[in-house]
């Protein structure tokens, strides 16, 4: 499963970059994140509860930041073990571009699921991943900018 997207965040690039590297911010923004702990400057361990189709699972897994080019881009790589439910893993190349309107965040993400998740939820994974990504960026934007104002119009 692959997906791409971009979001404009009304904040300077440095602030966006800092937030993307802040464990507390990530914990608030990752949907279903229960715990996250920095284990080194580039690695974290996390516990995330997710529901994909009929399967609800608690994933415990590791997150690693690679290809770090502050404050322009990094690759975030994660792998979660959901026990009997199976596993999920994936990553995203994230880049930031400064513009007069704010910072454009672009990502190219890919994800893979296995075990019961794949057996029962494979039809739903695309929609679920898109929903989770949207939720993450909503949360992220909200954290940096406050709640988004409805557009006038």
């Amino acid at each position: 499963m692959d997906m791409t997207g971009e979001h404009t965040i009304a904040a300077p690039r440095e602030a966006v970059w800092a937030a993307l590297n802040d464990v507390e911010v990530l914990k608030l923004c990752i949907p279903g994140c229960e715990e996250i702990e920095q284990t080194s400057p580039t690695t974290m361990e996390a516990k995330v509860v997710q529901k994909i189709g009929p399967v609800k699972a608690k994933f415990s897994g590791a997150i690693e930041l690679q290809n770090i080019d502050a404050p322009n881009s990094y690759t975030i790589q994660g792998e979660g073990n959901g026990g009997v439910a199976g596993f999920a893993k994936g990553g995203a190349d994230v880049s930031l571009e400064e513009t007069p309107e704010g910072t454009i965040l672009r990502y190219e993400a890919h994800a893979q699921i296995g075990g019961k998740l794949a057996r029962l939820g494979s039809r739903l994974i695309d929609a679920t991943a898109k929903k989770l990504a949207a939720k993450f960026f909503d949360n992220f934007q909200e954290h940096l900018n406050g709640p988004e104002q409805p557009e006038e119009g």
Binding site: V84, Q112, I113, G114, G115, L117, R119
Partner: protein
């Protein structure tokens, strides 16, 4: 000794149905043992991975968890690897490459679902929760799922002792003759044909309840088996669970098998061993999700085939190359399915002198593949019958005419692929099917459908298959690890009622009725006086079980042999007591009489005489109980003609089977109602495979059709009212003249369906399952090629 109401040929309602339809059947999961614990398996979510570590501590700490056991403990206790019981050698003489299969994987997992540990706990829910708490660390390896890809150089190797994932490279027939036949052909039809992978889906999922008696060092296993004696034999001789006299296997009511319940799986072995380890009865019952990743799958062939014809449409040569996907491990009879049960039937109903088939069996990171209703013969039938129909279209001949020009008409007929067809009348079945299907009226129906915007098509399938497996010496010579005879015991009780003990096993076939019918007929007794005992190794001495449509031709023949012995003794007793010659004794109307006199003994008086032994002939042993083993002299060859008519909606690709006609030659029919039921069920499964069912793995080896949301089973509304007929020839090979009817529907129907759809859409290039999407795509290809012209 006619017994019109209940004897051979009577449509007797099934004796067993009262308990089944009132919910009183007793299945394995209904068994409740004292102090019973439950097993839940920890299974790999990866298709191919090294097992780095297993951390059981969290699960073991949970209250109610009895133990958590792994493969190191299992092998440490001497439990043997699971084996394939049929040795198929490669054409260069080398033995097949069988990789090790431990009931619980120790170092490596090879498919999603491969078990690495088992949790034993006080309740099923607790066992499942605790299984989630077992932490397994895996090191993932690349996986391969397609049979042809498994043979490529870049494919990961699944077993160390199977280089290139090749299990065997086997052949049958004469390649040089086949090549020469093709070279001499005026027309050659060439096709690539895949036979889709299906999941068996019996209504009752698999289940096991194992109990270890520490004082007696004795095990009892209740399990969903089609062959409890074979299970006991393998569990004893190969898996070292317990010697046979210390192991009782009971297969009570079993709700469908279709092949999937022949094999002895990791779960049964583990439950037995775990019952000893924990000193608790251990129960495991599969759920649907688990069944999709543990029950052996069926089919999964990729073939290329070339068939040559002379100017008269006579087949001059036939060459087939097949790759068979056997999954991650070799299941019990897996090796025989794409070889001796497949390629030996590639001659079909036709006189083909020059025939050669090459079969490569391969490992992939998928659920093991083994026999599924028809087992090899559906793959052979699908291939030949699609070839014949396509060839006829290419040569501008009527499909029925091309077939008829090649029919075998003299019996016995030896094919170039080791079968000897003993009887049949292929013309009679073709004619009967064509008449019943009103083939003559098809053009009018097609024109009428066209007015409604529908594409109507008609397709044939003239199938032959081999049942009644099989002469023991013959299959032994081909590598089988067992003999395939059957046993029976006929017990006449002192009150005259009869118990038949059989090594066959009924799991939907209605043996309790049909087996009783042949006894009622023979001794002219009420059906209710006869009971069938099966499925318990402590009751029945031995037996080979039920699969391959063998219970009539082989199982009932054993009963006939035992009844012959009983009858001989009855005649002696009656002759002695009635002071008559044995030759003058007749058995009818519940009595044993002296012909032409009023001297008679009631059947019950004979029983009583045998057991009181007050007045038996000199030297005669008391009692009236005889047993027999019957070893068949040949396979039997059910054959027939199926005609399918479909309507395709060209806008959506949706296909409706509007008419399905079957004419079968099953030899002698004991109970037409039950035979029709078998045909109906077989057709449903065949139509299911042809139009709906498909096991799909993604490229990483994840099964993505793991529930009925994604794996489509046929439902009543998807199927037409079948038109079922018979044109029988008596099988000369067994005393009742039976051929077998359990698998024919599933064997013969898929090519009829696809031939009908390809006729409707005008494109021969269509693979099973013919889902609306596949049909629509095939239609678009026609449109595109027409546009290009």
């Amino acid at each position: 000794m006619a017994n019109g109401a209940t004897g051979i040929g009577a449509r007797v309602k099934r004796k067993e149905d009262k308990r089944f339809i009132t919910g009183k059947g007793k299945y394995t999961d209904d068994v409740r043992m004292e102090n019973q614990a439950y097993a839940a398996f920890v299974r790999s979510p990866h298709a191919h991975a090294n097992v780095k570590s297993i951390d059981k501590s969290a699960a073991l700490a949970m209250e109610g968890v009895v133990d958590v056991l792994d493969g190191h403990q299992l092998t440490g206790d001497g439990i043997g690897n699971i084996i394939c019981g049929w040795a198929v050698a490669s054409k260069d003489g080398s033995p097949m490459n069988m990789g090790a299969w431990s009931a619980l994987a120790t170092q490596k997992v090879r498919y999603v679902g491969d078990a690495v540990a088992v949790v034993i706990a006080d309740t099923q829910a607790l066992a499942r929760i605790a299984a989630e708490a077992v932490e397994v660390e895996y090191e993932e390896l690349p996986a391969v799922v397609k049979a042809d890809k498994a043979l490529t150089k870049s494919a990961p190797e699944i077993h160390d002792n199977a280089p290139g994932n090749l299990i065997y490279n086997w052949e049958i027939g004469d390649a040089a003759k086949a090549d020469a036949g093709l070279a001499a052909a005026k027309h050659i039809t060439e096709m690539e044909i895949t036979n889709n992978r299906v999941s068996p889906n019996p209504m009752e999922p698999r289940s096991a309840v194992a109990t270890y008696d520490e004082a007696e060092e004795h095990y009892t296993l209740y399990t969903t088996s089609q062959n409890p004696h074979v299970a006991r034999l393998v569990l004893s001789a190969f898996y070292n669970v317990a010697p046979e006299h210390k192991l009782r296997v009971i297969a009570p009511d079993v709700g469908g098998g279709f092949g999937a319940k022949i094999y002895i799986y990791p779960e049964e072995i583990t439950c037995l061993w775990a019952s000893m380890k924990t000193n608790r009865s251990v129960k495991w019952t599969s759920d649907r999700s688990e069944a999709f990743i543990t029950d052996a799958h069926g089919r999964d062939h990729i073939s290329t085939a070339k068939m040559g014809f002379d100017e008269n449409g006579k087949i001059t040569g036939f060459k087939v190359d097949t790759i068979a996907n056997l999954g991650a491990y070799m299941s019990l009879f897996s090796s025989s399915v794409p070889t001796y049960l497949y390629a030996t039937l590639l001659s079909g109903q036709y006189d083909i002198q020059n025939l050669h088939a090459n079969v490569r069996a391969v490992y992939t990171n998928t659920v093991p593949v083994d026999a599924y209703r028809g087992a090899g013969r559906p793959e052979a039938c699908y291939l030949i019958e699609r070839m014949m129909e396509t060839a006829a279209r290419e040569m501008g001949m009527k499909p029925a005419e091309l077939r008829a020009r090649n029919f075998v008409r003299e019996f016995p007929h030896e094919t170039p692929v080791i079968m000897t067809y003993d009887s049949g009348d292929f013309d009679a079945n073709l004619a009967q099917a064509e008449e019943a299907a009103d083939v003559a009226g098809f053009p009018a129906r097609q024109a009428e459908a066209a007015k409604r915007g529908k594409l109507r098509g008609l397709g044939y399938s003239c199938y032959i298959e081999a049942c009644g497996i099989a002469p023991s010496a013959a299959v032994g010579g081909l590598g089988a690890g067992v003999g395939l005879w059957e046993s029976a015991e006929v017990r006449v009780n002192p009150v005259g009622t009869i118990e038949i003990l059989t090594g066959s096993h009924s799991h939907g076939q209605g043996h309790e009725t049909t087996f009783a019918q042949i006894v009622a007929e023979r001794f002219d007794l009420p059906l209710d006086n006869v009971a069938i005992v099966h499925g318990d190794t402590d009751k029945v001495q031995f037996g080979m079980g039920t699969y391959g449509s063998r219970s009539g031709a082989v199982g009932m023949s054993a009963i006939v042999k035992a009844m012959d012995k009983v009858e001989a003794k009855v005649r002696k007793i009656a002759a002695h007591q009635l002071e008559a010659s044995e030759d003058d004794i007749v058995i009818e109307g519940g009595e044993v009489k002296v012909a032409g006199t009023d001297k008679a003994l009631g059947w019950h008086e004979i029983g009583l005489a045998a057991y009181t032994a007050h007045n038996l002939p000199p030297e005669m042993e008391p009692g009236l109980k005889e047993s027999a083993f019957y070893d068949p002299s040949n396979f039997t060859f059910p054959a027939g003609c199926y005609i399918c008519e479909v309507e395709v909606d060209p806008d959506t690709g949706t296909t409706e089977v509007v008419q399905f006609t079957a004419s079968d030659d099953f030899g002698t029919i004991i109970n037409p109602m039950i035979v029709e039921g078998q045909v109906h069920g077989g057709l449903a499964q065949g139509i299911g495979q042809a139009m709906m069912e498909q096991v799909i793995y993604d490229d990483d080896g994840q099964l993505i059709t793991g529930s009925y949301m994604d794996y489509t089973m046929p439902r009543a509304a998807d199927l037409p009212f079948y038109s079922v007929h018979h044109a029988s020839t008596v099988c000369p090979g067994n005393p009742l003249g039976m051929k077998g009817c359990g698998e024919a529907g599933a064997i013969g129907s898929p090519p009829a369906v696809i031939n009908a759809i390809t006729d409707a859409i005008g494109n021969n290039n269509l693979s099973m399952p013919a889902t609306p999407q596949n049909v629509w795509n095939a239609l678009q290809a026609v449109t595109a090629s027409q546009a290009a012209e």
